[in-house]
Symmetry: C2
Subunit: 111 residues, 2 copies
DNA sequence: ACAATAGTTAAGCAAATGCTTCAGTGTTGA
DNA sequence: TCAACACTGAAGCATTTGCTTAACTATTGT
């Protein structure tokens, strides 16, 4: 369910915004509340909540509310899924280049 | 210059669109002309060119025009930069979890 | 009890995005 | 030479995005 294209879509969409990437970056150093996430960002708390909801919908961040504070953490599995998509494409390209190199080396040998 | 935040921004932005990811996916299997990229997509050639320009501006794709055909290829270095950003954050989180695990194991020993 | 805290929700708005169509440009094969 | 081909660029338009403010709910410390 992590590799389903709709989820992947949400993830890349989520990562496309600088503010959201900054939030992910902050969370990579440990859990944080909404206010803590908001603190370094030059926007209203409300805007941060909206970004956070998107991050959560994408699966990149998981949150739980205890009392009045919502604590957020990264979901490494989701990050890995995005990472994996890119990696597959890059490897596919690089393998192709390798085969091409082999072929050229071989045809050169045949001279 | 690949890790400069503005370029990273363009890359993630570029990857956020499904059509553009489909184009990257196609290019991961080998070079293609604009028309070839357009073929599986349900949109005008003009729209494809606009997507392609964005991909090129982001550094993810390199193109060269010979005669009347523009040939496109993936730039694996750029893909690697995006991959790297995600990887760093995930590792940072996972290392933190490991340290936490060690700490918990140790305090348990002390009983 | 009540004020401060922590977050949520809705409405509204300007700017950005993802198209479309249409009118080009330059290239190539017959 | 000239028609088909492979794009390219500008204008326009509907939708989405990323905010804002303002009004609200629920929790906590005193």
């Amino acid at each position: 369910m992590l590799h389903d294209p709709a989820q992947l879509d949400l993830m890349f969409q989520a990562l496309a915004d600088p503010a959201r990437r900054q939030m992910v970056d902050r969370l990579s150093r440990g859990p944080a509340s909404v206010s803590q996430l908001a603190e370094p960002l030059a926007m209203s708390l409300s805007a941060v909540v909206q970004h956070l909801n998107l991050l959560e919908a994408s699966g990149l961040v998981r949150t739980q509310k205890i009392g009045r504070v919502r604590t957020c953490q990264i979901e490494p599995k989701a990050l890995r899924a995005a990472e994996h998509w890119i990696n597959e494409r890059r490897l596919s390209w690089e393998r192709r280049l390798d085969r091409l190199g082999d072929f050229l080396a071989q045809t050169k040998d045949e001279n």
